[in-house]
Amino acid sequence: MAIFTAASQPVRKSHASVRATRILSRVLIYGALLFWAFVCLFPIYWTVTTSFKSALDVTQGHLVPWLDFQPDWKGWRSLGLSPDSILGTSTARAEFMSRFGNSIITSVGASVLALVLGSLAAYGLSRFRYKFAWMRNDDILFFFMSQLILPPVVLALPFLVLYKALALLDTRLGLILLYTLTVLPIVIWIMRDQFNAIPIELDEAAFVDGLSVWGAFIRIILPLAVPGMVAAFILSLVLCWNEYFFAALLTSTDAKTLPVMVASQTGSQGINWWSMAALSTAAIAPLVIVGIFLERYIVSGLTTGAGK
């Protein structure tokens, strides 16, 4: 288009063509943005609406509620979570609530534990110089980070055997310990960056005021590192909430988490679309809410060290 204008009106060439390319680029940019937003949102939209559909609406591919189909609490009723069934007793709801509780306890527990261990180690690595055999600070940091490359399959089986011996199989404590391990490197990475950004003069001032190393850390430095801690906490929460592999192998009845429940439903009894959709919606809802409201922290956690 730009070439065409340039050829026919040589005098106004620069003006018109610049405007044309400008408009064209705007259209392309917003088109691409909207397209990708659609790609991101449609699966979520589809899942949420399907939880309100009857079998017929699913098979006929109806998409828009009220226009295409009459929404119904069908999927939620099968979970015992619809308005008319929420007051009654429901085994499905009892099971769902226990899995939901397990997911919350394991992911929050692991994130807290990782945050405590990781923050301490990160502060130590950022402020003091350690030497352990041949390992200096950088080696120790590498030792922690190298845990990231361990694929879960390597640990899964030894843990299965060990947990059996330790009576930790199918317990929430067992899962918490494992999840802590998987997120610890990430927490250390984020927190070390955070502590490095806090000037060392603050520690020195605290020492002059007579605080001990730990006093300075807890009373002066830690409050300043709260944003980083929130970021690390939320990121670990997301990772632990979504973890499936270990949970599938190491839990059976008591400590099953939500992903395991979702996965086990797809196999049995054919596919019960509306209840699967309701279950998936309930499983992703907490994190979608976290993602919408705490996006800032997730981004700051992810981008630690990226901008340098």
Binding site: W36, Y130, V154, P158, L162, D203
Partner: protein, 372 residues
């Protein structure tokens, strides 16, 4: 940690002048030794008890865990008693180190031991040693090599994810309205659990009969939109789902890199008359190289663990075409209960990952140096 010296600029005069009395040192050392000995004793008793040599002992190994915890606490306080200020400093690092050693080093060692056993949970004979047989058997296992070949495909596909993510990061970095809205929306897939995604996309959107994706494909002229029936299509479908979940991560990292880039450089390129493509390819891309390499390596590390989606959507099918190493080993555990062999496969995979990543890190650091 045996010698934690303060950083030069935090050195405190007090610490230097603070000498630990010999008596205190000895007391600390004795305490740690005593508790260590007690823990080893408990461990020995339990080993002998399990072996059937003595009747005294615990029903399970849980007390060993508590003993380790107790030992860790005493060891930590021993550091403070023996080394004062420096012990206090070591206390920052000790909990994480002791935790990691307990839950990684020990199980990995144990894993290597299991890998040398012929151990099938469903057979009546217990585990027995068979040396390197698992390792030898693995070289004949065509399914395992097939899974490794698939990993090459999945790993190479990271480059495609990177290209899309770079485009999205550029879009978000352009002067647009509602940037915050788009950023939140683009980030959402990252929040979702791969298992839920397996159902949401793999089992319902891409459902053969009436999934919207299949309907769309039919409308576009593909008569037989079976996303998981043919090897290559199935592989690409799995990859598409994994990409959907993980592109936001790459995008956010690249966006941070773009925003940290000095504006003057791009303006200078514009003044010099560079076209949009030229300024991207010759200025922006090289400047983004360090971030790109970092994010690609992190992404590859996570890609090598890919399992959840494959397990839940195709279970490796059709005919192993979508299998990843992790999902294959998962089936060896779950369906065949072949514990020793499965662990052998996993350890071998770990060795290959370490080798591959070491090479990759070497190459990437050399390459970035050459370009920069």
């Amino acid at each position: 940690m045996q010698n934690s010296a303060p950083l030069a600029d935090v050195r405190r005069d007090k610490a230097a002048s603070h000498r630990i009395p010999v008596g205190r040192k000895n007391a600390g050392r004795t305490l740690v030794l005593l508790v260590s000995a007690a823990c080893v004793l408990v461990l020995l008793v339990q080993i002998l008890h399990t072996a059937g040599a003595i009747t005294v002992g615990f029903a399970d190994w849980r007390p060993i865990l508590y003993a380790y915890l107790l030992w860790a606490i005493v060891f930590g306080s021993g550091q403070v008693v023996m080394r004062g200020e420096r012990g206090l400093r070591a206390l920052f690092l000790l909990p994480a180190v002791l935790f990691t050693v307990a839950v990684v080093i020990f199980p990995t060692m144990f894993g290597i031991y299991i890998a040398s056993l012929d151990w099938n949970l469903s057979s009546f004979e217990g585990p027995h040693f068979n040396g390197l047989n698992n390792l030898i058997g693995l070289f004949d296992d065509s399914y395992y090599w097939n899974a490794l070949r698939n990993m090459i495909f999945y790993t190479l596909a990271v480059l495609g994810e990177y290209a899309v993510a770079f485009g999205l990061a550029l879009l978000l970095n352009a002067e647009i309205r509602a940037r915050k809205f788009f950023r939140v929306v683009f980030l959402l897939p990252l929040m979702l659990s791969p298992v839920a995604v397996s159902w949401m996309i793999g089992k319902s959107l891409m459902e053969y009969r009436f999934g919207p994706a299949a309907t769309l494909a039919r409308d576009l002229g593909w008569d037989n939109p079976a996303f998981f029936a043919f090897p290559w299509i199935a592989r690409f479908s799995i990859e598409a789902m994994d990409a959907w979940v993980s592109i936001p991560f790459i995008m956010i990292m690249l966006l941070a890199g773009l925003q940290a880039m000095p504006k003057e450089v791009l303006e200078a390129a514009k003044v010099d008359g560079a076209s949009a493509w030229q300024s991207f390819w010759h200025v922006m891309f090289p400047l983004m190289l360090p971030v790109s390499v970092t994010v690609l390596i992190i992404r590859i590390i996570f890609k090598l663990k890919l399992a959840d989606i494959v397990i839940n959507v195709t279970a490796g099918g059709p005919g192993g075409a979508t299998d990843t190493v992790s999902s294959f080993i998962y089936r060896v555990y779950r369906d065949r209960s072949n514990v020793g062999y499965g662990t052998g496969l996993a350890i071998f995979y770990l060795l290959m990952i370490i080798l591959f990543l070491t090479l990759l890190l070497r190459l990437s650091s050399r390459w970035t140096q050459k370009v920069a």
